[in-house]
Amino acid sequence: MVAPRRRRGFLRTYLTPKQAIPAQARLILAVGSFVFVIGVWWLAALLVQNPLFVPSPYQVVVTWWDMMVNLAFYNDVAWSAFRIVAGFVLAAAVAVPLGLLMGSFEAVRSFFNPPINAIRYMPASAFIPLLILLQGLGEDEKITIIWIGVFFQLVLMVMDIAHRVPDEMLNVAYTLGASRWTVFYKVFLPATFPEIVDALRITMGWAWTYLIVAELVAAEHGIGSFILIAERYLRADRIIAAIITIGILGLITDTLFAVAHRVAFPYVEKVRA
């Protein structure tokens, strides 16, 4: 039997820019990266031998279970999730329509763009002390922080998306006899939808950052306040477990957005990542 000839050497396959690698290799590398990170962590825990500061992965899993069973950590998760959803939905409900209007009408853009662009560079977390003064320590303050963090970014992203809709797409509709209103809701809006969902997905990730910052500063419940309390008791294991929980929640929302995108917009041409 003749051995199949290797068409390309190992280095040629793996070290050519943008060259595809076998699907199996992709999977091994993806799983391998997790194994590697956990391995390094575990090694560090063994070397340091101080569970107070560097708990092992196993210890963190045990702690996580303990947090759920004995400390009602799920309550904090629920509080955080509620704030995220409320703040994000309120921000998107204003940012998406306003962004669409700014992207399509120059008058609206000229009016809103300068202040929004300026505020965008003011970090949302810097507003926390001011908002505590104005709104107190309740839910309003947390939701407003998320709103500020998401709104000013999202509105400009949506504006760009709307602005990028090709003129010819609209012109075709006009030459088929469409009125301006028909062009708006039958061509312009659907042309922006897929990218808007992408923008929501990206800004959702940022919302988590602002929430945790707000909760770290002052909150009675929530993952952020849980982390702060854990710090006071020198429980690095709890802090790490809480951070990983946020990561997993982020991954779940991201996957939900990705699935929704695929189901709602099957017509979008896939760009290979």
């Binding site: 090709p166 006009y174 030459t175 088929l176 006899g177 039958k186 042309a191 939808f193 017509y267």
Partner: protein, 263 residues
Amino acid sequence: MSEIEIRDVAMRFRGRHGEVTALERISLTVPDGQFACIVGPSGCGKSTLLMVAAGLITPTEGEVLVNGKPTVEPGADRGMVFQSYSLYPWLSVRRNIEFGPEIKKVPAADRRKTSSELIHLMKLDGFADAYPKVLSGGMKQRAAIARALAGDPQVLLMDEPFGALDAQTRQIMQELLTDIWQRYRKTVLFVTHDIEEAIFLGDVIYMMTSRPGRIRTTLAVDIPRPRTFDTITGPRFAELRNQVVGVIHEESLKAVESELARA
């Protein structure tokens, strides 16, 4: 009866270095059922002229009349096909084609009949329910032409529709377009920079110069129809091509000279 009359159309833009004349007093008439081609180098304003005819932009001077009516705004009587296809990616091929009839509130059964006919005619059978993303460039442009025809316009304005296609596909598309035109006999104003395409398709060719854009020569194409692939290899085709190439070469030389003179 659907005639396109371009009357003294001039277009000037305010550029960084003063006023730029894109079009200078252009007048021409495309009689009912004629296939007219405008050939010119890029930047000569031929697409601008088409946009004026569509009613998408307003000229600085003059007007375009379709059936004696000035084209002040776009309308379904003037269908337009763009180089970039501009199909709606969220609609199937069939829904794309039915877009015009749908906004005109044509009953669903009639719409379907029209789109089925055009899908067959444009050789898109089997792709009625496909999204544009799966189509090749040639198929996309066939669907876009079908969409323009489905609105049953009186005139068809085509802006370098085959400019983005490879040479082989372009040839096939040109043959298909002459067949379709023989069948529907729409008045067509077709813009291209491809001389052979203009000779193959047109009854008449208007050659434009650039900066300022104006019509330099008019040439009647006396090759009989129906035109097929053999037309291109015929002696008359070569004669006409040489004639056009000569004019354009002369024009290009002049353009270079005037650029040098300005420098």
